[in-house]
């Protein structure tokens, strides 16, 4: 099963220590054969909205920081429980903040 772990903005500014901790966590996920892809997102971006054939573009940031995704990890695990357990581990490393774990469909039968 694939899951997308995401974190939202608006948390405390990351320290060098936190970056190092996160690096270790990512390495651990890789070593465990779990991490398929991951990365951080620029809080700025282009917002699209389509209405009756009209596409409108607006410059971001376009939502509250704590509602927009700032980093993601695509993981492959055996059960949802495993995804939840790994995410708990992640948040223990990170400290304060918010994010989600959601199943990714389409990658498998």
């Amino acid at each position: 099963m694939r899951f997308l772990m995401t974190t939202n903005g608006g948390g405390p500014a990351p320290t060098p220590e936190l970056f190092a901790e996160m690096g270790r966590f990512v390495e651990e996920l890789t070593k465990a054969g779990v991490l398929l892809a991951g990365g951080g997102l620029d809080p700025k971006g282009t917002h699209f909205s389509a209405r009756s054939g009209q596409v409108t573009l607006t410059d971001g940031p376009y939502t509250e920081a704590k509602e927009s995704i700032v980093s993601f990890a695509l993981i492959e695990v055996r059960t949802e429980d495993e995804a939840i357990e790994l995410a708990k581990h992640f948040w223990r490393v990170v400290g304060d903040g918010e994010g989600d774990v959601r199943r990714v469909y389409g990658a498998e039968d």
Binding site: A32, R78, E82, E85, E108
Partner: protein, 430 residues
């Protein structure tokens, strides 16, 4: 932060953490107590302790660490009480692990150091090597690897392989006993035997993958869980032994083959041959991971082996946007190299298919005909299946029908049998 949980939820958490952490825990304990069976028993004790405690005290902040610590405490207790060690101290070597065991036994060890000692990556690698040791019969290696390294239960392994649970349980018990009796060292094998030992590890992982990829028995054509478990083990191995080209070769081969999952079965669960697959359904993420693994294999600058070559062949298929774009010349050449490096009748059969694509079905058929008397392929359903296919291309429909029927008789997989019988019927109807 701990939540006091219900029994059920605590159990689920314990089981999940165990699956994620058991290889590291059993590995660390094996290094301490030198006996994989005892190590697993002590780790299981820690698991039972968690099942008792966590519903009351809540799940600890670092559940994996809790299990590891509890298990190590039990191992230390066991070593202190181990009278046999007295007799064996004389036989102990001079390695750090030996001195550590002796120190624990006579009470002079710095226990904090023992507890904090984290040689984790090598522990898991050693565990994989011991579980796949050539002293064990292959089915035992498979069961023990899934159990110790994959953290699967006996029941899960039995279900995956459609074998009775007591059979698997017995395999595991016997395997652990054999490893203990033969005093198999818990080590990454030294250079002279490393290649052979590594080959055994890769074979076990690929066996698990193949059992899932084209199930030999039953009604499912694919058992993705087994494939994904093998893929996970392959990815783990690639990180643990990054200097070994064949490890990356196997990872690449599995990534690329797994990329075809969605295209290998049609809506009614029938197998779809490679040439007919909708390539738009191939998983590009896995293909890219496969290519990356293949590049890593190349960057080791060491001679290629059978897995790297098979991965290179899989990569050729993955690169073709349409079946007719397949570079069969290159594939045939890679098969020639493979037959040179690791000759096998199955590889020759695959080579025959590639040759038939470059030089015509007649050329392919002459290679296949040389194989028909081969004892190793006597019950291999793909031999008559390939022969039938080549005969059909040559318009020799009666002979093709007989071959497809023979192939249908030989396969133990229901969807595949149906597909072959349909081809036999079609050949007979011409």
């Amino acid at each position: 932060m701990t939540d006091v949980l219900g029994e059920d939820e605590a159990r689920r958490t314990v089981e999940t953490v165990w699956r994620l952490e058991s290889a590291r825990i059993v590995g660390a304990l094996t290094r301490l107590v030198r006996d994989v069976g005892l190590a697993e028993e002590l780790a299981q004790d820690a698991l039972v302790a968690a099942l008792q405690d966590w519903p009351r005290i809540g799940v600890p902040d670092n559940p994996g660490g809790w299990l590891m610590l509890t298990a190590k405490h039990r191992a230390i207790d066991r070593l202190r009480r181990n009278d046999r060690l007295d007799a064996n101290v004389a036989q102990l070597g001079n390695s750090f692990a030996d001195r550590q065991r002796e120190a624990i036994h006579n009470g002079s060890a710095d226990f904090d150091a023992v507890i904090d000692d984290e040689d984790l990556t090598d522990d898991v690698l050693r565990l994989i090597f011991i579980a796949c040791h050539p002293v064990l019969p292959t089915p035992s290696r498979v069961a023990l690897t899934l159990r110790l390294v994959g953290g699967l239960t006996t029941e899960e392994i039995a279900r995956a392989f459609m074998v009775a649970e007591p059979t698997i349980a017995q395999r595991i018990v016997r395997a652990k006993r054999t490893l203990g009796e033969k005093r198999i060292a818990f080590e990454v094998p030294p250079a002279p035997e490393r290649a052979e030992r590594l080959a055994s590890v890769l074979e076990v992982v690929y066996l698990v993958f193949n059992e899932g990829y084209s199930a030999t028995v039953g009604d499912d054509w694919l058992r993705p869980d087994l494939c994904r478990e093998a893929l996970r083990l392959g990815r783990v191995l690639a990180e643990l032994a990054p200097d070994e080209p064949e490890v990356h070769g196997l990872a690449a081969l599995m990534e690329i083959q797994a990329s075809r999952f969605r295209a290998r079965v049609d809506l009614s669960g029938r197998p779809v041959p490679l040439a007919d697959q909708n390539r738009g359904r191939w998983d590009q993420l896995l293909i890219r991971r496969g290519f990356t693994a293949l590049l890593r294999a190349g960057s080791t600058n060491r001679p290629v082996g059978p897995y790297v070559l098979q991965a290179a062949i899989a990569a050729c298929h993955a690169q073709a946007r349409r079946a007719e774009d397949t570079d069969w010349e290159r594939i045939a050449a890679l098969y020639q190299t493979l037959l040179h490096v690791a000759p096998s009748p199955v590889a020759r059969l695959n080579c025959a298919v590639a040759v038939s694509m470059t030089s015509g079905p007649e050329a392919g058929l002459s290679i296949v005909d040389e194989l028909t008397g081969h004892s190793a392929l006597r019950d291999y359903h793909l031999l008559p299946a390939v022969r039938g296919d080549l005969l059909a291309k040559l318009g020799r429909m009666d002979e093709a029908r007989v071959e497809f029927e023979r192939a249908a008789q030989l396969t133990r997989n229901a969807p595949e049998r149906e597909a072959l019988l349909r081809r036999a019927y079609a050949a007979g109807a011409v």
